[in-house]
Amino acid sequence: MNGNEIAAKDDALFRSIEYTGKNFYYAVGIFVTVIAFAAFLYLGQIISGLGVTGMAQPVSWGFYIVNFVFFIGISHAGTLISAILRLSKAEWRRPITRMAEVITAIVLAIGGLHPILDLGQPGRIWHLATSGRLQSPLLWDVTSITAYFAASTVYLFLPLIPDIAILRDRGTKPRWLYQFLSWGWQGTPKQHKVLDRTINILMIGVIPIAVSVHTVISYIFAMTVQPGWHSTIFGPYFVVGAIFSGIAALLIVMIVFRRVYHLENYLKEIHFSYLSILLLIMSLLWFYFTFCEYLTTHYGNEPDEMRVFFYKFSGDFAPYFWAMIVCNFIIPVAILSNKKTRKIKGILFASFTVLIGMWLERLIIVVPSLANPRLGYPTGIYIPSITEWALFAGGIAVFMLGFLLFAKFFPLISVWEIQEGRASSIKEVAHRLRSYLPDELEEDDIKKALH
């Protein structure tokens, strides 16, 4: 069987590649306009320096670092979730993993560029190469993000090869691209063996890399003695927050693209239900960590720490702090713990609030500690400028454009994994059941259960 025959059943998955509607061009036009506007204002920053931003002493980190932590956090959606689902042999993963992996690759690229925005003059990045010091957590960040980006791009590409070969065999244009990227894939058993072996190795390797990335990002803050930052639980707290926002982003992307490309037959209610339960668990876990973090600070009652504490709880940042609690805990728990509201619309709403809440959390971590330094300066003020807002919007537009362009050239759902699922999942699951259950499971019992 060639690629054409194999994929005929899943023609719906190629529709976004082989048919381009007007809406695609409208969407691209809108995103390019937003990106161009952001680029124009960024040019102003390159010419005039960081004076065009709202950052000043003592608040020397603002939106750029907030967005850096936020975007890198979302990147945990992909490779980590995909790797865990593959590793645990969760059969429902098949239509989800590709989207998750794409999110990771795009968002990591966007997030990784944010510290360069924060440098003011991008040319200063050269100093990192020539004068960097490896004992600085900032350099750990550079190393771990580069490693994660490399690993997750490879982890996205390898399972994509059989699908690229299907596109090549269907004669989809640009043909040279699919010939170039398919690496001679013909689907022979030995080729499958090579690919499966490598994916398995990467799947195991990518989990500690993903965890290390956000742990190391937390070290930028935790390794200082700044009030509100110097915390031993910042590593796991950041990882939990990252997975939390990552699942929310994945759910939003799944719901939007399911609607746009009519993928209802592949992304079913059950997928959203399972993922939303994961989101609910992460919400509870996030609240637990937040509670621990602030209770310890409050109990310690150290004057400098308490200044930051009250700045968040009842001071200038109180509206953002309480909005964060509502968005990250109250709304998602209320919606997702009730079966009646745990439907696609409810999940979409809860996911949006989680993304807003997690962005607020990053803002609340970065700014209040800098605004209330240990030395006796007056409390700092930070009001983001239009340049910072535009670059934030530009980052989101780059993400949406990147995802849209990916969907234009590659299937958003892994076709070969769906095929594989149809061909061998039932057998595999039956085999697994036989190994779990105390009694022998007869072939007839399985057949009866299936009917």
Binding site: A150, R168, F180, Q186, K190, L195
Partner: protein, 84 residues
């Protein structure tokens, strides 16, 4: 685009991956040398280096293994057009 050009691009992309990975590794090694010269927390730097250097090599090796593995285990089938 001709088959030869595509083949060349495929090999070039593998070479590029190795250039990237080796550049990162050389950069990390140079940072280790600087840390040693300056007596500047060499233990932390070595710790990072020990993890990062093999990791990048592993990523490049995985890609190379897949590329050559797929090339080696192809079946010669004239009915498949352009399955490079």
């Amino acid at each position: 685009m001709s088959s030869k050009t595509i083949k060349f691009l495929q090999y070039a992309s593998i070479a590029w991956i190795w250039i990237f990975v080796l550049s990162v590794d050389i950069w990390i090694i140079s940072l280790l040398i600087v840390a040693r010269r300056l007596h500047d927390a060499i233990n932390a730097s070595v710790g990072i280096g020990i993890i990062a250097i093999p990791l990048f090599l592993l990523i490049a090796s995985a890609l190379t293994y897949v590329f050559f593995g797929l090339q080696k285990h192809r079946e010669v089938d004239e009915t498949r057009h352009g399955s490079l």
